[in-house]
């Protein structure tokens, strides 16, 4: 079924529906109805790291910069440095092990497909789903460029997408919390567990709690 989205995009509804009908089995409750190929295509926009789900299209860094300046820079800054507390998109290399990690597409995100998928489904913030595929390719190319991953003349397309890797991909590992000491299942101490206790830090020193009457 991994080829299914391509089929829908490439072929016409009649073909897709006939393929489905061949394997259609009635559910136990016979509730709901079969989705049409147009319906699935309308909603099935998600993209995976292996490129599954990418639409046809292409876009250059220069085209991306133009869209970025118009639709993205007011929150994310001209070069992805961000305004106020909006997400930083570029920079942050070599900060992840420091006191102030800056998690950007270049420094942190493991997969480029995540950029394409997220921009395509949720950006710009005030008007999601308004970008054409070529625009999303162009913006993704621009985001790569401001993260020093590609040159100014780079063009990103469906065809070369899967070849693009982000530098931090290898630094993610699956959940292994249970192997850490805090999950030792040790019967906890009940009395005289440590010497007399001292206060080491107080919230009031920072004083960042909202006031009672702040709405």
């Amino acid at each position: 079924m991994s080829k299914f989205p391509k089929l829908i995009l490439a072929a016409h509804a009649a073909l897709a529906v006939s393929l489905l009908a061949g394997s259609a089995l009635a559910g136990k409750y016979n509730l709901g109805r079969e989705a049409t190929s147009e319906e699935v295509a309308a909603w099935n926009i998600d993209v995976r790291p292996d490129g599954q789900g990418l639409p046809e299209g292409r876009g250059t860094v220069a085209e991306g910069e133009e869209i970025w300046t118009e639709q993205c820079a007011s929150c994310h800054g001209d070069f992805g440095e961000a305004v106020d507390r909006w997400p930083v998109i570029a920079g942050g290399e070599d900060t992840l092990a420091g006191d102030d990690p800056v998690k950007t597409v270049g420094s942190y995100w493991p997969y480029l497909s995540t950029v394409f998928d997220y921009v395509n489904r949720a950006m710009p913030f005030t008007e999601a789903r308004s970008l054409e595929p070529d625009q999303v390719y162009a913006l993704t190319a621009y985001i790569m460029n401001i993260n020093d991953l590609v040159d100014e003349d780079f063009e990103l397309s469906k065809d070369n997408f899967a070849d693009q890797k982000l530098p931090n991909e290898g630094n993610f590992f699956d959940d292994n919390r249970l192997s850490t000491p805090v999950f030792a299942k040790t019967e906890p101490c009940m009395s005289e567990c440590k010497p007399k206790v001292k206060v080491t830090m107080r919230a009031r020193v920072l004083d960042v709690t909202p006031e009672d009457d702040t709405d």
């Binding site: 489905l20 559910g27 709901g32 909603w43 092990a97 942190y108 949720a122 630094n171 959940d175």
Partner: protein
């Protein structure tokens, strides 16, 4: 303290009676002020009681005049004297309230169920306002038959009720570097506990027919963030619910009306609101909320991903910074909540001396898998300073760690999954502060 009460103001009739009371030479007070005066009277103790408590000696309006009739409040709201019980946000935390979070006032609640209007909110593109007649749920991908359901279709499936806590993975996330926010609402309020009604996800998947290579699901929201998370098939076939009711009534808009995925015990971000589509696939999608966000950065710069379960945790809700002790020394009730994404809570210990000595608290009310538990510890306060802590142990035997033990294995930059033991410093005057201890 007195806010605009336009939203649920007492009736004009009620105000008139209050004015009448004033003209009679009684206490000229609105609700909040009256409550404050009552507290002041109580605080002065016996000295003010020449002939006795004025609250007893004086005839009260509510004791003399009839109140509102049955249809004055067709959808009931709390007493005006409870108006301070509200969700609250921490404005500096996020760039914009549209993609932000507020917090459940845990210190004002008791038992285990969170009232619908007080369940904390976390939106990534604001609240989607959806007409249920226009809402559809699609199941597509690696299934025998790709399906579309209306809300009416879904309500014809066999139903199940489940009480589960939902905790944001970032709950207590602001406390990694030390005590910061003064109130359990802010330190621990990204949680709620609700009874959901819906259809088991596995029933819907069976209706579509899973293909043999179906290993992952991608639930997707209908809001403007198009929220997506990858959910492994084992969890989907275990205890996930597709729900439309919370605590007996329709989901609130801010909780995903008309349809929400319930993923018991797992981080709240996966409980996709405004659920409109579930794609079935053979690999995870690695979308934004499971790569850029909701991954746990370690001190060495590497990051843990797919950290789904919420770890065993507890907090003392009363007393706490927003709920100080208002009485002199004497008998008092300490109360709190505990939960684990890996099972039930089997025990909660309480310390009055910052974790040096511990005693078992009393769990009261239902003990349910992946639900909040309520605990109490009654004691005689001698009026001295205390360092209160609670420590939960779950049915798997996992023990809530100290914050320092957690920092030793996580560093201070992981944001998510902070289940460390909280300390409240009770002062001699009964006020309470969020502190860290040796």
């Amino acid at each position: 303290m007195v806010r605009d009460m336009t939203a649920d103001s007492p009736t004009d009739d009620h105000k008139l009676k209050a004015r009448r009371s004033f003209l009679r030479g009684g206490l000229a007070m609105g609700g909040a002020a009256a409550a404050a005066a009552a507290a002041a009277t109580a605080a002065t103790g016996g000295a003010a009681l020449a002939n006795g408590d004025q609250n007893i000696l004086e005839l009260k309006d509510w004791n003399q005049y009839p109140g509102d009739g049955v249809d004055a409040r067709p959808y009931g709201t709390p007493s005006e004297f409870e108006e301070h019980v509200q969700r609250k946000s921490v404005p500096w935390l996020t760039a914009d309230p549209i993609s932000s979070v507020n917090f459940t006032p845990l210190h004002e609640l008791d038992g285990i169920i969170t009232p619908n209007g007080l369940c904390f909110e976390r939106h990534h593109a604001g609240i989607a306002e959806i007409d249920p007649s226009e809402h559809r749920l699609m199941i597509n991908g690696l299934v025998e038959k790709q399906l579309v359901f209306t809300m009416e279709d879904l309500m014809r499936f066999p139903r199940k009720n489940q009480i589960n806590f939902l905790e944001c993975a970032a709950n207590s996330g602001m406390e990694w570097r030390g005590a910061q926010l003064n109130g359990c609402q802010f330190t621990h309020g990204m949680i709620h506990n609700v009874m959901y009604t819906g259809v088991p996800l596995k029933v819907l998947l069976a209706e579509a027919g899973l293909k043999s290579n179906a290993k992952w699901l991608l639930p997707e929201g209908a809001d403007a963030s198009g929220m997506t998370r990858s959910v492994p098939m084992e969890k989907a076939l275990d205890d996930c619910l597709v729900t439309w009711k919370m605590n007996g009534e329709a989901l609130r808009p801010e909780q995903g009306y008309p349809l929400r995925l319930v993923v018991p015990g797992w981080e709240g971000n996966m409980w996709v609101k405004w659920l409109r589509r579930i794609e079935v696939g053979d690999k995870p999608w690695h979308h934004r909320e499971e790569t850029s966000k909701y991954t746990d950065l370690m001190a060495n710069g590497k990051a843990r991903r797919f950290t789904w379960e919420m770890d065993v945790k507890s907090v003392i809700t009363n007393p706490s910074p927003q709920a100080p002790l208002k009485h002199d020394k004497g008998f008092t009730v300490l109360s709190g909540v505990a939960w684990s994404g890996r099972g039930k809570v089997s025990r909660v210990d309480v310390s009055l001396d910052g974790g040096r000595n511990w005693q078992a608290a009393r769990i009261d009310g239902p003990s349910i898998d992946k639900s909040m538990h309520r605990f109490y510890f009654e004691f005689d306060w001698d009026g001295s300073e205390l360092l209160l802590q609670s420590r939960a142990i779950d049915s798997e035997g996992f023990v809530q760690p100290t914050k320092d033990a957690l920092r030793a294995v996580r560093g201070e930059n992981s944001i998510y999954h902070n289940n460390g033991i909280q300390t409240w410093h009770i002062k001699k005057d009964g006020t309470v502060e969020n502190v860290e201890v040796s």
